[in-house]
């Protein structure tokens, strides 16, 4: 039997292919069951109008019991959104990706949450400790113990 993560991701993938993705979210790449890429944009009026971001999901064998490692892609094509909870290296300070992760959540539900996080942003700026964090941040955001700045996300 394959790991539970594989089976679950197979089903999530099948669901995405059968029923499509919510608006503003597209599946960019899902060649295996370890790393997926999706694009994210905020439709309608928002501070991020016209911007497209990419999300990178990394799954452990324990997924969905263990949360996926989710971060914005920062490369020559994508940038991390300017947001008080998003560090310039793409790491996201969102409780649902850490302590409040629930195995009931899925790739798509995480995307939707992050989409609404961006949509509700009032002030495009980096987290106050961005430079300090980015200088020493681990490669995998799951290795960071975030202190969640507020309860909104």
């Amino acid at each position: 039997m394959a790991a539970v993560s594989t089976r679950r991701l197979q089903k999530e993938l099948a669901d995405i292919k059968n029923h499509g993705t919510p608006t503003g979210i597209t599946l960019l790449k899902a060649d295996d069951f370890e790393t997926w890429y999706l694009t994210l944009e905020v439709l309608g009026e928002s501070l991020y109008k016209g911007e497209v971001f990419a999300l990178k999901f990394r799954f452990e064998p324990g997924y969905p019991i263990s949360s996926p490692a989710v971060q914005f892609v920062v490369d020559d094509k994508f940038r991390a959104p300017l947001h008080p909870h998003v560090y310039s290296n793409g790491h996201i300070c969102a409780s649902i990706l850490g302590t409040e992760w629930s195995p009931v959540l899925s790739v798509i539900s995480v995307c939707i949450t992050l989409q609404s996080m961006l949509a509700s942003c009032k002030d495009k700026k980096r987290p106050p400790d961005n430079d300090r964090y980015v200088a020493h941040a681990p490669e995998n955001p799951k290795k960071t113990q975030f202190v969640y700045h507020d309860d909104e996300v």
């Binding site: 039997m1 790991a3 539970v4 089976r7 679950r8 089903k11 999530e12 064998p61 324990g62 969905p64 019991i65 302590t99 409040e100 629930s102 195995p103 009931v104 113990q145």
Partner: protein
């Protein structure tokens, strides 16, 4: 088919309602839950058995389709899937039919419902692993959402770690309510374990149509529950139930952290300087304390713990009697090493000065005097000994102990140890009692504490636990008293002559304890409480009389005569030892209370009041 009966029997023995007692391989991680408890809960039908999940499910599937979609476990029976599973299904079907249907004809065999397939009619998809399970599935106690047993056993508290010293009950993955638990409604029939005499499962012949409907309706009845259950409801199985060790884990991490925080540097005074000679284990506090705040909000937990603790009072009592209660062997060894080295050190000093005469007196006069005194104070505590005067509340034993100790400071040692040891047993108040820092130090000074003395001390402490402060006082006082009485002692050769000069080391020392205690008392567990050289620095300073001395002086005068020798001995030791040992970490973390200071102050005041005594120590 002749062998099917036996295989069927074997099959029944380790299944419950056609489900299994162990996980069927959905998750591959470590099985860190208590499997015994899980098995029991499954047998009691309080938790759904581990059914082999279906990859997929459609209501109109034939039995064979269902069985083909069934996950085969990776281990034992996982042979070539398709054929073997069908074959198995056949044999099981035949046994099932034999048992329950009285031998059907072979012709109809294909049409007959296969129990192992029939149970999947109306299968439910677990929202976490996305696999399909028989409709008799667990439901979250709070929001009535389905969850298979495979997923349920995976949900647990976050492991506590040194930076996250709490263990919050896992929340419901669906509604995030705390204390996640499930309720299981078993099917109306029984099979396998615990099915003896129960209604055998029976399904209509056709897997479709009516079957689905009837199953669905019965499922609907099962699912009709709409109320939520409290996490303490007897029908609920919580994630803590299947991992009963979470408390121990938390306690272990906490103890480790606290131990680290309680480490103290052991200092040794050489001349007027303190030299670090080691680090204590700090393990005295390793046992979980009730006042740790972990039991807040859950009285039941706390009471359980206290109950558990009370279950072996004998052991605690024994340890307490030995002066070892709750004290770590490691620390005892450190203390012993320290004591020896200090003795050695002191010995050197003594040799330099008047070694010969003092020894003579010690062996001769002091002991004799002590012996005689022992009898006196113990019987009439109130009058004679200083300790009794100071702490009238303490029982006669106190006096006894104090008098017993040849070297008064030593008595305090046993005190300290017994205190720390007794913390587990003792009520919160007691645990809050201040550690006698000064006393600790003095423990080292004691060249040899006889078991009797210790036991006496511990006894006293236990009996007069509420009055520990007083007891400590008395101990301290005793120490000083022992020293002071020297003047009155007839056998003491010439106590007063020696007294005039105050030895620097001694005086500062006596003072230092108080300082240390006051310093550290506010933050008992914090590493800062470690005595640093700067803190001890004051010892080198000239002694300034405490502004608020406690009226102990009277006692010293009235105190029974001690040999001048013993007095000097004690004081000299006290000097070095007290200074060094105040630092001793072993003092209970709870040492914040004002009580702790009293003894120290007393000691101070006494020192001030009794310059003569200290002066005697100066001799060496």
């Amino acid at each position: 088919m002749g062998n099917s009966a036996s295989s069927g029997r074997g099959h029944h023995e380790d299944t419950v309602d056609y489900g299994y007692l162990t996980p069927q391989g959905v998750y591959t991680g470590p099985r860190d839950w208590n499997q015994t408890i899980v098995t029991q809960l499954i047998c009691e039908r309080k938790l759904a058995p581990f059914y082999r999940p279906l990859e997929d499910y459609e209501d109109n599937w034939e039995d064979e389709q269902i069985l083909a979609a069934r996950k085969e476990p990776t281990d034992s029976e996982a042979s070539s899937q398709g054929d073997s599973s069908v074959g198995r299904a056949d044999s099981i079907a035949s046994t099932g039919s034999r048992t329950h249907h009285k031998r059907p004809s072979n012709v109809k065999e294909v049409q007959r419902p296969i129990p192992e397939a029939a149970i999947y009619r109306g299968a439910i998809e677990c929202p976490i692993c996305f696999l399909y399970y028989p409709p008799n599935i667990n439901h979250s106690r709070c929001c009535d959402q389905a969850i298979c047993t495979e997923c349920f056993v995976q949900i647990k508290r976050a492991e506590p770690n040194p930076t996250h010293l709490v263990s919050e009950p896992a929340c419901c993955p669906y509604c995030v309510q705390e204390n996640f638990g499930v309720v299981y409604t078993p099917p109306p029939w029984r099979a396998g374990i615990g099915s003896e005499g129960a209604t055998p499962p029976s399904w209509p012949d056709s897997p479709k149509g009516s079957t689905a409907n009837s199953v669905a309706s019965s499922n609907a009845a099962m699912k009709r529950r709409r109320k939520s259950f409290g996490h303490d409801s007897p029908d609920v199985v919580t994630i803590d139930q299947i991992r009963p060790d979470w408390e121990a884990k938390l306690a272990a991490v906490r103890a480790a952290v606290q131990r680290r925080a309680n480490r103290r540097i052991i200092m040794r005074q050489v001349g007027d300087r303190l030299i670090p000679v080691g680090v204590t284990s700090g393990r005295v506090h390793a046992l979980p304390t009730e006042d740790g705040g972990e039991a807040d909000g859950n009285g039941e937990r706390g009471s359980r713990r206290s109950r558990r603790r009370n279950q072996n009072p004998d052991l605690n009592q024994l340890l307490g009697t030995m002066g070892l209660g709750g004290q770590d062997l490691e620390e005892l060894m450190v203390m012993e090493a320290m004591r020896l080295s200090l003795l050695e050190h002191e010995e050197q000093q003594r040799k330099q000065k008047e070694e010969e005469e003092k020894k003579k007196r010690e062996e001769g006069d002091a002991e004799g005097v002590n012996q005689t005194e022992n009898a006196g104070p113990s019987t009439t505590p109130s009058v004679e000994t200083p300790s009794s005067a100071v702490s009238s509340s303490t029982s006669t034993r106190t006096d006894n102990a104090s008098t017993n100790t040849l070297i008064s400071p030593s008595a305090s040692t046993s005190h300290a140890s017994s205190m720390s040891g007794g913390r587990d047993v003792s009520p919160p108040i007691e645990s809050a009692t201040p550690p006698a820092r000064s006393t600790h130090g003095s423990s080292l000074s004691v060249s040899s504490l006889s078991p009797d003395q210790r036991s006496i001390r511990s006894q006293k402490r236990r009996s007069a636990s509420p009055f520990i402060g007083a007891a400590l006082q008395s101990a301290t006082v005793t120490a000083s008293a022992v020293v002071s009485p020297s003047s009155g002692e007839p056998s003491g050769s010439t106590p007063e002559e020696d007294t005039p000069v105050l030895p620097h080391p001694t005086m500062p020392i006596s003072r230092s304890p108080s300082r240390a205690s006051t310093h550290s008392s506010p933050t008992p567990t914090s590493p800062e409480s470690t005595v640093t050289p700067e803190e001890s620095g004051p010892e080198a300073e000239p002694i300034t009389p405490p502004s608020d001395p406690i009226p102990v002086p009277v006692d010293s005068d009235a105190s029974p005569p001690l040999t001048h020798h013993s007095a000097s001995f004690a004081s000299s030791i006290e000097g070095d030892i007290n200074a060094a040992y105040d630092v001793l970490p072993s003092s209970p973390a709870s040492s914040g209370s004002s009580l702790s200071r009293k003894p120290l102050l007393d000691a101070q005041s006494e020192v001030n009041d009794m310059p003569t005594v200290t002066s005697s120590s100066e001799a060496h």
